[in-house]
């Protein structure tokens, strides 16, 4: 029955929510020299009035993921007034809402609904949809209809969204670092005199200490797979390729990108799973972890957990939030970049905007985007809300105060919509009162940044899609329990895992990925 199929697809979204967190948070590509165009360009009056023809009034339909804010209608009205005046255009802004957004996104594109611009991202299937021809080629239109954007986006970023010879999206321009890392209870560390967490051994010592002193607490409560999987990848410096998250086929390290291997067959893996077994037996996480539906972070405020996997951005949010509600709990953050001392910025198309094939006015849509990115009036309005209501510019123009003076924060909630697609660094502002550790970390990352050579490798798994599905199954059924140390006999389980992987065609998958990666490296001149 269609109910069953639709339920299947809709639950894709539910699990994909978790997957998006992983995909979005793992280090991805971007340009090391994140374009720092001059401020003047951003604030310049970008009215090339001798530009494209805007004599016809046009109404556009745009789609963003997620939810509107309760004041979005007001904001969009204001936006449309400005657009009407400047570009003889209005925009109807729609949202997919968060439940089943992936299904809805898919339906919007495949049904050919008339949409003029849609949020696009590597974690929203951008590459897949682009390959399948869902988006328009913007190559010709960009210099004409979005001249500012065309200039300011670095060449590397354009190449990230180019497939074949066509440019399928406008990536956001904002160097973001979202490496994996762990939030942990610093107050407990101090209390029990545990060493500072700076490597795997000290991490182990921390968890050991917590477990010994607080027998009721499970250091990593709830679902531990994210914590352990990212730890495993980053500790060994196994680099996943093209946005893959399983980590079965990886490059053996950043410095050896061409050495693509199947990780479960490496000696490091065998050693690792033995260690994980010992950790599991010591009770660092629950035996029921694979079936738990709760995040480790849920348990920290309840005093039942100590560790939570986060990237620096969401760590900041979590830390701030916890501080507000539970001021006695002190949290600190350990980024996994410290294992090997380098950081990789996100892929530019981690957030971006694309134009579906069905658009009737792609050129006008690009013009609106150009304005949105570059004109601070537009940018501030759509990204931060109405000045004087949702925010005020702080004394330092790069910061804003949320909400504006005199507004009740309970009534006027922060204006937050999925505005990430049109980010443009010079126009971005930070909210005052954020987690102070964040800026320090960003500086640390910028200092040790290296180019992202793995994420942009586009893998169209079509020739090996059967093997991919089969290997993924085996990873879930045999790999995950093994990596979480839940099996009774590690050696036997490892052997079974390896055998099943072979059966599923892991070698064929390995060859394919190796081939694609090598082609990419050759093209880009990566050693």
């Amino acid at each position: 029955m269609k109910r069953k199929t639709s339920k299947l697809l809709t639950l894709l979204a539910a699990s994909a929510l978790t997957a998006t967190a992983v995909t979005a948070c793992s280090s991805n590509s971007g340009s090391p020299e994140s374009a720092a165009p001059t401020a003047t360009q951003a604030t310049a009056e970008a009215q090339a009035t001798s530009g494209p023809d805007i004599s016809k009034k046009v109404e556009l339909v745009w789609y963003l993921v997620g939810e509107p804010h309760k004041d979005t209608q007001k904001v969009v009205e204001e936006w449309n007034t400005m657009l009407q005046k400047d570009l003889n255009t209005t925009v109807k802004l729609n949202f997919t809402t968060w439940n089943d957004w992936e299904t809805k996104y898919n339906l919007l594109l495949t049904s050919g609904e008339k949409i003029d611009m849609i949020f696009a991202s590597s974690w929203a299937g951008f590459y897949k949809y682009a390959k399948q021809g869902a988006f328009l080629d913007l190559k010709e239109m960009l210099p004409k209809d979005a001249p500012l954007t065309w200039q300011e986006v670095p060449k590397q970023d354009w190449s990230d969204v180019t497939l074949g010879d066509n440019i399928y999206a406008v990536p956001s321009t904002f160097a973001e670092y979202t490496p994996n890392g762990l939030v942990y209870r610093e107050d407990w560390r101090k209390k029990f005199n545990l060493p500072e967490i700076k490597d795997l051994d000290s991490l182990e010592a921390y968890m050991d200490g917590v477990k010994k002193n607080l027998p009721d607490v499970t250091p990593i409560s709830g679902k531990a797979i994210n914590e352990i999987n990212t730890l495993y990848l980053d500790y060994h410096d196994f680099k996943t390729i093209g946005g893959d998250t399983d980590g079965v086929i990886v490059a053996s390290s950043y410095d050896k990108p061409r050495d693509v291997v199947a990780a479960p067959f490496t000696p490091q893996f065998a050693e690792w799973v033995k260690k994980m077994k010992s950790w599991a037996d010591k009770g660092y996480w629950s035996k029921n972890t694979l079936s738990s539906k709760q995040e480790a972070g849920d348990f920290i405020p309840a005093g039942k957990g100590a560790i939570y996997w986060r990237n620096p951005s969401s760590a900041g949010g979590f830390i701030n939030n916890t501080k507000l509600k539970y001021p006695d709990i002190e949290l600190a953050y350990f980024p996994f970049t410290r294992f090997h001392n380098y950081a990789i910025p996100n892929l530019s198309i981690n957030n971006g905007m694309a134009i579906p094939k069905s658009s009737q006015n792609p050129d006008r849509s690009l013009m609106v985007l150009d304005k949105l990115r570059n004109d601070p009036k537009y940018f501030n309005l759509m990204t931060y809300g109405i000045e004087g209501l949702h925010y005020d510019i702080a004394s330092d123009p790069k910061h804003i105060v949320v909400p504006a003076k005199g507004q009740d924060p309970k009534v006027v909630t922060p204006y937050d919509i999925a505005s990430w697609g049109w980010r443009y660094e010079p126009n971005m502002k930070t909210t005052e009162g954020g987690w102070d550790g964040f800026d320090k970390l960003t500086a640390e990352f910028k200092a040790e940044t290296k180019p992202n050579i793995f994420a942009p490798i586009y893998l169209d798994y079509d020739p090996v899609k059967t093997e991919l599905a089969a290997v993924h199954q085996v990873y879930e059924q045999y790999g995950q329990p093994l990596m979480l140390g839940l099996v009774p006999d590690v050696d036997k389980a490892l052997q079974t895992y390896q055998d099943k992987l072979k059966q599923a065609g892991v070698d064929k998958l390995l060859d394919y990925i190796k081939q694609q990666a090598t082609a990419y490296y050759d093209e880009k001149g990566v050693q």
């Binding site: 029955m1 069953k4 199929t5 339920k7 299947l8 697809l9 639950l11 894709l12 699990s15 994909a16 997957a19 992936e102 898919n106 594109l109 495949t110 050919g112 299937g125 897949k128 949809y129 399948q132 021809g133 869902a134 499970t218 797979i225 399983d246 629950s286 035996k287 029921n288 694979l290 079936s291 738990s292 539906k293 094939k357 798994y461 079509d462 899609k465 059967t466 093997e467 991919l468 599905a469 089969a470 993924h472 199954q473 085996v474 879930e476 059924q477 045999y478 790999g479 995950q480 329990p481 839940l486 099996v487 099943k500 059966q503 599923a504 065609g505």
Partner: protein, 349 residues
Amino acid sequence: MLSLVAYLQLPGHPRFHYDYVAFINRAYGMTRSPGRREIEVKVGAKRGFWYELNKSKVLFLMILPVLLYFLIFNYIPMVGIYYAFTRFDFNGGLFGSPFVGWDNFKFLFQSGTLTQLIKNTVLYNIAFILLGNVLQIVTAVFLSQIPGKVYKRVAQTVMFLPHFISWVLVGAFSYQMFNSDNGVVNTLLKELAHPTYDFYLQPEPWKYIITGFYIWKTLGYGAVIYLAAIMSISDEYYEAARIDGANVFQQIRHITLPLLVPTFVLLILFSLGGILKGQFDLFYQIIGGNGMLYNATDILDTYVFRSLTVNFDIGMGTAAGLFQSFFGFLLVLVVNFIIKKTREDYALF
């Protein structure tokens, strides 16, 4: 309404006969004699389509909206089955995308677990259908007979509640009960000085647990159907039996149950079509991503779901659905055929 005296004087009075249904029907002259039209048809006086259309004009008109509805919402979209044989491309759309034959079906067979999956799916469904229906019948029978209107209304309402509890909550619930850290069951075991049991590491108990949850959730809903069917049984039959001295158990055995058989067969037949399809929500919420339990609890739907999360592919998804549908279809055809040969009016079509 027959008087007692008249009743006792009827020929073929069923003392020691027990087939009250047949008896009453005969008494009223309501045996299953074919209608005039039926006779016409059987004798081969079948006329053409337009003749029939004209003769049963009103009936056709009455069913026309429904037929149109299915045409629009079901049959026309069925062309989508073709996706299973293509590699989808936006530029080609449904019919323009390249044809790839059976490629999309390969992933079902590649991981070597297909037999296990089919076995699990089928066995769970059989357990659900049989145990579920039997329990529902028992419940309905009791509910219809025991006295106490208020009690019955309350009980019926309460038994309906699980239907509203989403599988998400059931999953959370199940975790609360069975987890080895502070789950209810293990806490109980500890109190009884019994070693704890790691439910989430052992596949064996789950077939019972899952079946239990399914039956619990569908009991109230399913019992309603049987209750309604019981309500359609005329009092006359029971009167006849009562007068004859049959007690409650005998009444149920000879009247209620036989008259529920058509409904039972219908529901079973209906469910057979979905024999390879599963209650995805149920399994996904209760088992989640726990590979250790897959041997005993993985069904086709969850397997397909996981395959699609890694690489969402319309072709593969449709292929899996087609595979499931096709098997169910074959099964239903076979069983329906068999039933038609034995008791024609029990057949689904």
